[in-house]
């Protein structure tokens, strides 16, 4: 296990190892999502106030939680990339950032869609939505910075610095937005409350959350492999791999 985390960790080994994991992730996420979304859409109770629109919850909340979790994961990868010069960590930042940005965007869109029936308007400067919006900016910054460098290794290092700066700032931004929100809106606008959860909501929610988490893992695996290939294109094992594929 330590060998795998060693600075000279072998990209070839990780490439094949991730390849073996992907089918498992696919299977688990499909099963969990079918089960979870089925329960959520068909069997969980409608809210007495929000009616059927409460079901957006099963997409919105997992997306929001994962969008923050992915940023945290990215920052941890960034730290290992900078401290131990681990090149695979750089590849994983490049693989994670667009996934995180997509989930942030999903959280924003579903939040807006949920807001429409509740507040009668698509956008409201709700603390949680505003934080998600700023998180999206932070993700887009990492992606844009990464794309701006020609050299993949430099791009990875620059993105690492930014991701760490971002993760230090994220709690401060989050707290300040929350505080700003209570200051300016008070109790006049009801916030996007997380419904209090009964068991028949909690179980589908947890199943959905894990389903999406495995979906993230699955997409990450695919992108991670692509990043490894892109960063090692001049290595003999990659060339051998390409030749073997051409023969088939």
């Amino acid at each position: 296990m330590w060998k795998w985390l060693h600075p000279y960790a072998n990209p070839e080994v990780s490439y094949h190892f991730t390849g073996k994991l992907i089918p498992w992730f696919t299977a688990i996420s499909v099963i969990l999502l079918v089960l979870g979304l089925g329960l959520a859409l068909a069997f969980s109770p409608a809210d007495y106030q929000q009616g059927e629109s409460v079901r957006i919850f099963y997409l919105h909340v997992p997306a929001a939680m994962l969008s923050m979790g992915i940023y945290l994961g990215m920052a941890i990868a960034a730290l290992t990339a900078l401290v131990w010069q681990l090149k695979l960590a750089e590849a994983s930042i490049a693989a994670l950032a667009p996934i995180g940005a997509t989930f942030t965007a999903i959280a924003l869109l579903t939040g807006a869609a949920w807001g429409k029936p509740m507040w009668g308007t698509w956008w409201i400067w709700d603390a949680r939505l505003t934080s998600e919006l700023i998180l999206l900016f932070l993700y887009l910054g990492v992606i844009a910075l990464q794309n701006a460098f020609e050299d993949k290794s430099l791009a990875g290092k620059a993105a690492s610095v930014l991701a760490i700066v971002g993760v230090v700032n994220l709690p401060i931004i989050h707290y300040s937005v929350e505080w700003w929100n209570t200051l300016h809106q008070g109790s006049t606008v009801s916030k996007l409350e997380r419904p209090s959860m009964s068991a028949d909501m909690f179980i589908p929610f947890v199943v959905c959350l894990f389903g999406f988490a495995f979906l993230v893992a699955r997409i990450f695996g695919e992108r991670f492999r692509a990043e490894i290939i892109a960063r090692n294109s001049m290595r003999p094992w990659v060339k051998a791999l390409v030749l073997a594929q051409e023969k088939n």
Binding site: Y8, Q85, E150, D151, M234
Partner: protein
């Protein structure tokens, strides 16, 4: 002739990859006190990359550079105070006079800056001390940068094309300075497209070639 002296700087299995191109692979060599080493190679073989890695400005893809048997990134302050690196860009501010430019670098390295005016005379910039650098030519900028060598007490000099835009007399003067520096226990690592007039057994060559894999 200098092999008896202590090793100042060592390259240990350096590998450099730039934009998916392998420039050099597992390159190792020692730089001892008294060495003058010329890095040779065609354009694009990684001469500048090698010098920047040796100076600690770039990270090698693999391998490390050792200063007195310690990784240069672990003893950066000690290494930097024993190093002068002059790259393609002279690092001269157009808004300051040539004397102020030189003084700034001398002060930054904790050296006596009162001799700046005299030192500028060494690189035939006598009379230009108070001229703003923006009014001077590229060759004169390079001379201001090179003037630091006359005042330096650093052992390791890493010079990327130091003779660019320098006239014949200037080149000769620099070569004399390199020899004196080597004799005093220093080391010079340089790239140049000109032939050095220094006698060939006074200096070593490291030749970089295009890599094909």
């Amino acid at each position: 002739m200098a092999t008896q002296h202590s090793v100042l700087l060592a390259a240990d299995k350096l590998t450099c990859i730039r934009e998916d191109r392998l420039l050099f692979d597992q390159l190792s060599f020692d730089v001892s006190a008294g060495d003058i080493i010329q890095i040779e190679g065609a354009n694009g073989t990684g001469k500048t990359s090698l010098l920047r890695i040796l100076a600690g400005l770039s990270q090698p893809y693999d391998g490390e550079v050792l200063y007195k048997a310690e990784n240069i990134h672990h003893c950066q302050e000690d290494y930097n105070s024993d190093l002068i690196f002059l790259g393609h860009l002279p690092g001269i501010k157009g808004e300051m006079t040539s004397e102020e430019n030189l003084q700034f670098y001398l002060k930054l390295h904790g050296l006596d800056h009162s001799l700046a005016e005299q030192t500028l005379a060494e690189v035939s910039l006598f009379g230009f001390e108070d001229a703003l650098a923006s009014h001077l030519s590229a060759g004169q900028h390079r001379r201001i940068a090179l003037a630091r060598l006359w005042q330096s007490n650093s052992k390791i000099w890493i010079l990327d094309e130091p003779f660019t835009a320098i006239d014949k007399a200037g080149v000769e003067k620099l070569e004399q300075l390199f020899l004196r520096h080597a004799k005093n226990g220093g080391a010079v690592i340089l790239t140049t497209h000109q032939d050095l007039s220094i006698h060939s057994n006074d200096f070593k060559k490291i030749i970089l070639e295009h890599q094909f894999i």
